[in-house]
């Protein structure tokens, strides 16, 4: 747009803080996400201590959380739920929605479609700062006396409505809702910006079918977000009104431990669940799709081979995106919803397995007969595809309403969603960071440490979450502060210790990443223009960031981004801006 190549003098503040430049904003998102991620995984390590060693005291808990939360090093049960809730919220929303989309949509959309910046730099900046405020509010809620929100990341009412049900439903829940309101605003503004940029600002020749799959993924993700977050907003607003204004949208026939029988009648908590999961399910694809998009790009680049079935990949993403809006009821099979709906949602949910399977097979076929360079990013991608498969297959069980009767809300679910959503997306995000770090900071990250980081992460990840399936099959419910109240679960005592050890090691292993990341920003070797010999447009921009991305003309696009190892070419890659030769077929 109007950002030509002019270089006006910028103050520190306008360059690093209130920047309108998408590359800077991407970095801001990434740093915020890394910070929140550090909190999120630390919380999981802390509450895993309680689950692994239920009778031991851990003075570190008191040091970190204060004596309200963990008197004498013994975590109390309200705070346990608080930690789980914040862990889930932070991971889902702040790291893998705000962080993942925010970082990579911002970084890659203008660079890969060939635009000088986002459609609106100002809105983009506002979106980031709303995200920042929202992150800060969420983090602050860990420090208040009554504790953070404790009703689980899904904050079902009535539990989340009255403080007398749970101490976290007081100020902690208010902060949670406030934070999420900012978050939703940020997502909407960001999402609209992404969509507009992709639709309007593509460079010459960049037709929709020449877009890299990353862009398609971000595009569909943004649409999902724009369509579903408003529903979450209304869901949260009604909840706020029930909490503060005495309405009863979600409340009926309730007796408070202190206030006695309440007036509320006629509302229904199931309404909340419908509204929440109408966002909630698309949300898991908001998390997954960007990771899958980046994985497609990196796998193709590092296998030196076109992505297999480019159109099928787009088609399956579109199918997944569409279907994700009509499956939310699979979270509610056992709420007392009409059983007929249960059957319908089983059907639609299992339909999603088809495009997902197509994606998995296409990844594998891309690697088949490739020439796979094991960069850290590629390793993470392979891991990500593996977890997508391993977590996807157990989804088939949970999609089956009849089986859900014996699996719902057990640790089987926890194992399933961590592998398919948590690990796939986190591994995908790491892949993205390792792959595009040179583009973000102009430096290289250390590859050896990246490799160690990958192996530690995948080993610990599977070590934590595969066993959880067996806990769930044994009937162990999730969100349990301790499993020792039921001697029937005592045969899992040792398995839980193992899980906690894997979790602790896994969390500590992330220190390797943090150090590599921050060290490389300042001291890493300077990157070359196109370190991975990749085809897409971002690698035609200079290593040093400039306003408007390309110092001269924006290149014109002549081909799709996956011409790797094309027969008849000398190099094993042909960037998108290289014109087709006369006798060359498109693909």
């Amino acid at each position: 747009m109007s950002h030509d190549t002019h270089h006006h003098k910028e103050s520190f503040i306008s360059k690093y803080i209130f920047s309108h430049d998408h590359k800077m904003i991407a970095k801001q998102y990434l740093l915020t996400a890394i910070f929140m991620g550090a909190i999120g995984i630390t919380l999981s390590a802390l509450f895993r201590l309680k689950l692994g060693w239920p009778d031991d005291k851990f003075p570190i808990l008191e040091t970190l959380l204060g004596s309200d939360a963990a008197p004498e090093g013994l975590l109390n049960s309200n705070w346990y739920l608080g930690l789980v809730t914040l862990h889930g919220t932070i991971m889902v929303f702040f790291v893998l929605t705000g962080g993942l989309s925010g970082t990579f949509s911002n970084l890659l959309i203008p660079l890969q479609v060939g635009a000088r910046d986002m459609a609106s730099g100002l809105l983009n900046m506002i979106a980031y700062w709303l995200f920042f405020i929202s992150s800060a509010l969420m983090a602050v809620s860990l420090f208040i006396e009554t504790g953070p929100a404790m009703a689980g990341w899904t904050i079902y009412p009535p539990l989340s409505v009255l403080e007398e049900f749970q101490s976290g439903s007081g100020l902690g829940m208010t902060l949670w809702l406030l934070s999420m309101t900012f978050f939703i605003a940020s997502s909407l503004i960001g999402g609209i910006n992404y969509i507009v940029t992709i639709l309007n600002l593509r460079t010459k020749g960049m037709s929709m079918t020449k877009l890299p799959l990353t862009i398609w993924a971000f595009f569909i993700t943004a649409i999902l977000g724009v369509l579903s977050f408003p529903v979450l907003l209304s869901c949260a607003v009604l909840l706020l009104m029930d909490r503060g204004l005495g309405t009863s949208f979600y409340m009926s026939d309730i007796i408070g431990p202190e206030s006695g029988a309440l007036d509320a009648t006629g509302g229904n908590p199931i309404l909340y669940e419908h509204l929440f999961w109408f966002l909630g399910h698309p949300e898991v694809y908001i998390i997954l799709l960007p990771a899958l998009g980046m994985t497609s790009e990196i796998i193709s680049t590092c296998s030196r081979k076109p992505i297999f079935g480019y159109r099928a990949m787009i088609g399956s993403m579109l199918a997944i995106g569409f279907l994700s809006f009509i499956v939310w009821g699979h979270h509610m099979f056992l709420t007392g919803m009409n059983p007929f709906l249960g059957g319908v949602f089983t059907f639609t949910t299992l339909l999603i397995a088809i495009p997902s399977a197509v994606k998995a097979f296409n990844y594998i076929t891309t690697i088949y007969k490739g020439n796979v360079i094991m960069t850290p990013a590629m390793l993470f991608c392979i891991g990500s595809v593996s977890t997508f498969i391993s977590g996807g297959v157990t989804g088939i069980i949970l999609a089956d309403s009849a089986l859900d009767i014996s699996q719902h809300d057990t640790y089987f679910v926890v194992g399933h969603f961590h592998i398919v959503m948590g690990m796939t997306a986190i591994l995908g995000m790491f892949a993205g960071i390792y792959h595009w770090f040179p583009k973000m900071y102009g430096k290289m990250m250390n590859k050896r440490m990246g490799m160690v980081h990958f192996w530690a992460t995948i080993v610990c990840g599977y070590g934590v979450f595969i066993p959880m399936h067996f806990l769930g099959e044994g009937g162990l419910p999730r969100r349990y502060y301790e499993n020792t109240n039921f001697p029937m679960f005592d045969h899992f005592l040792d398995l839980n210790v193992m899980i906690s050890i894997f979790a602790t090691v896994g969390v500590i292993a992330q220190v390797i990443f943090f150090m590599n990341f921050f060290y490389s920003i300042f001291r890493g070797p300077v990157a070359s223009l196109n370190p991975w010999k990749s085809n897409s447009l971002e690698w035609t921009t200079p290593v040093e960031h400039v306003h408007g991305n390309w110092p001269g003309e924006i290149p014109t696009v002549h081909r799709w981004p996956y011409d790797y190892s094309k027969p008849g070419k000398e190099e094993d890659f042909v960037p998108q801006h290289i014109p087709l030769t006369d006798d060359e077929e498109e693909h």
């Binding site: 109390n76 539990l159 007796i255 299992l350």
Partner: protein, 608 residues
């Protein structure tokens, strides 16, 4: 404070060491060539590729090990309900499809990554798509999934659209526990409403008596709030001495109570018709300790919640459904295996022996005092499976499945005893209320007398139940102790040790016991290593327990007899008083109605 300081120092040192290391590493890098971070060397590629295979083997091995060690439904065994078996079959069907897919696709992924790792001399094959192949792997999953969907929905429908009503039992969830209510002879649960919930009527069952009691309770509460407020008025200024927010809270509560009474009056209370409309409640009976079910008897559970969403979850039955406040959900099931039958299965015995050992190990390691010691016997349980607050992880109720005969003895018999006592008390109270409510001048003295009597009975009942509690606790203590002694003896036998440790063990044990005669235990057991004497010791303990049991049931009987006499006595007294009162009332009424009829007729004329 010191701890924090040390942590900070360690972290700081760690970082400094790391930065130094990185510097050295990069120096070495520079020597090797500038762009070494961008190029993955042949060795590295090969190593990563090999690690892919190694990892795959470990990963598969780990999964297979877990499958063999735990498998599906670890520790839950074959489902103990009819529909549960269908679910298990469906689950196995799914696993047989899923596991091969899991292993094969993961294998292909890791195998290809290994096989096609980068070598300079190789070139990747340019394959952009293959419509046939893609069609093939869209259709194959679709076919497999249609089997899964059809089988799944069929099972779901057969569970959910089961029309057989069976016995009706209510399960009521609250923070943090369960109550159950059996529908009684008519198999219809009396209606309930949350506005009638109180300590004496925890399920809010609607009966005439409960409605009246609720009015009384509400009135009393309203009055008590008034008196609290009045007691806190500054005599000079006339302002409240309490903080404003507290005053508002009190007043709000008062208003709420008044509204509640109004809503009961206008919605639920049908006046003289109450007894006939809400008659279904009469034969219902409640329990908050355990849920007793009959083998092969179909059940319909009707599920309600008092406060937040809970979820009754019966892992052995493969049954759960949310308990949602303001809404009734239900679940139908038919238990097929009694608790006793489960306890006889060899695999259950073995598993529970192991569980017991692991449990005791933990108990001993951490010196945990259990309120309810684990017996090492199988039991069905009901637990909560929807996050509901601080006590979510300890919302449990014992579930017992038994034969019809056992059930008749355990439930019906117990129920009738408890009911008799309860209904007597209730009787007195309702009479009292009707006295107090009716505008009976001169009856105060009678009502006072009756109050006194009822209080007496209540007092009696309270001492009895305290007594009973104490008895029960003693009993529990003793059982626990005897279990401990047995265990101890087992250990001693296994060790076949020197006398010294026997004595040490025993003296430790004896020190811990406060109830039993220490001398005696000591003498009995420590005097010898002789098997028979030890057995004798065990017998001795069992005898003690048995004695306590006997005393307990004797006491219970004594009380029942005493109570029966006492309550008859009161009943008679009240009867005579009531009769007198009624006679007098009748007279009053006759004179009154004579007056009324005359005034009514005049009124009628005017309105017409």
């Amino acid at each position: 404070m010191g701890g924090k300081f040390i942590i900070i120092i360690v972290v700081a040192l760690f970082f400094i060491a790391f930065i130094q290391l990185m510097k050295i590493y990069q120096l070495a890098d520079k020597v090797r060539g500038q762009k070494s971070q961008e190029k993955i060397t042949r060795n590295e590629n090969m190593m990563m590729a090999n690690l892919m295979l190694v990892f795959m083997c470990l990963f598969f091995g780990f999964t297979i090990w877990l499958i063999f060690k735990y498998g599906a439904n670890s520790g839950l065994y074959e489902a103990a309900t009819v529909h549960g078996k269908e679910i298990d079959d469906l689950l196995m069907f799914n696993w047989y499809i899923i596991l091969p897919v899991f292993f094969i696709t993961n294998f292909l992924l890791f195998f290809f990554s290994w096989k096609y790792y980068h070598r300079e001399e190789r070139k990747a094959t340019f394959i952009s798509h293959n419509n046939k192949l893609e069609f093939f792997w869209t259709v194959i999953p679709a076919i497999a999934l249609s089997f899964i969907v059809i089988y799944g929905i069929k099972t779901w429908n057969s569970i959910m659209y089961n029309t057989e009503e069976g016995q009706v039992v209510e399960i009521y969830a609250y923070q943090f526990g369960w109550r159950v209510r059996y529908a009684g002879e008519d198999n219809i649960l009396g209606k309930a409403d949350y506005k009638l919930v109180s300590t004496t009527n925890p399920l809010g069952v609607i009966t005439d008596k409960n409605i009246k009691a609720t009015y009384a309770e509400i009135d009393a509460e309203v009055r008590s709030i008034d008196s609290i407020l009045n007691a806190n008025i500054d005599p000079v200024t006339g302002d409240y001495l309490l903080p404003k927010s507290k005053v508002t809270k009190h007043k709000e509560k008062q208003e709420r109570l008044k509204r509640r009474k109004y809503r009961i009056k206008s919605g639920i209370d049908k006046g003289p018709l109450n007894d006939s409309i809400y008659a279904a409640a009469n034969d219902d009976f409640e329990d908050d300790l355990e849920l007793r079910l009959i083998k092969d008897q179909p059940y319909t559970f009707k599920i309600r919640s008092q406060d937040v969403i809970h979820c009754p979850w019966f892992p052995h039955f493969r049954a759960q459904i949310n308990a949602v406040p303001g809404m009734e959900t239900n679940f139908k099931l038919t238990p097929t295996t009694t608790t006793a039958e489960m306890r006889e299965k060899p695999e259950v015995i073995e598993h529970y022996n192991n569980l017991y050992d692991r449990h005791q190990q933990r108990i001993e390691e951490y010196n945990i005092v259990e309120t309810e010691p684990f017996t090492g016997l199988f039991d069905y349980v009901l637990l909560c499976n929807k996050i509901c607050g601080a006590g979510h992880s300890n919302m449990q109720m014992k579930v017992v499945v038994e034969t019809q005969e056992e059930y008749d003895y355990n439930v019906t018999f117990k129920k009738s005893e408890k009911k008799i006592i309860q209904s007597k008390i209730a009787d007195f109270e309702s009479k009292l209320i009707s006295f107090e409510e009716g505008d009976n001048s001169g009856t105060d003295s009678i009502s006072l007398v009756c109050r006194g009597e009822v209080d007496l009975v209540k007092e009696e009942l309270k001492t009895f139940s305290e007594f009973q509690d104490k008895d029960l606790n003693n009993l529990k203590e003793e059982i626990k102790l005897s279990l401990k002694v047995e265990h101890e003896i087992k250990v001693i036998n296994e060790e076949s040790n020197s006398d010294l440790s026997v004595k040490q063990n025993l003296s430790r044990l004896v020190d811990n016991s406060s109830i039993l005669n220490k001398e005696e235990i000591y003498n009995y057991i420590s005097s010898t290593n002789d098997e028979s004497l030890k057995n004798e010791a065990v017998n001795y303990f069992q005898e003690i327990v048995q004695n306590s049991l006997n005393t307990f049931s004797n006491n219970l009987n004594d009380f029942k007899v005493k109570f029966e006499l006492k309550s008859n006595e009161i009943q008679n007294k009240i009867n005579t008083l009531v009769k007198q009162e009624l006679n007098q009332n009748e007279e009053n009424r006759l004179t009154l109605s004579a007056e009324n009829t005359s005034s009514n007729t005049t009124n009628d004329k005017v309105t017409m």
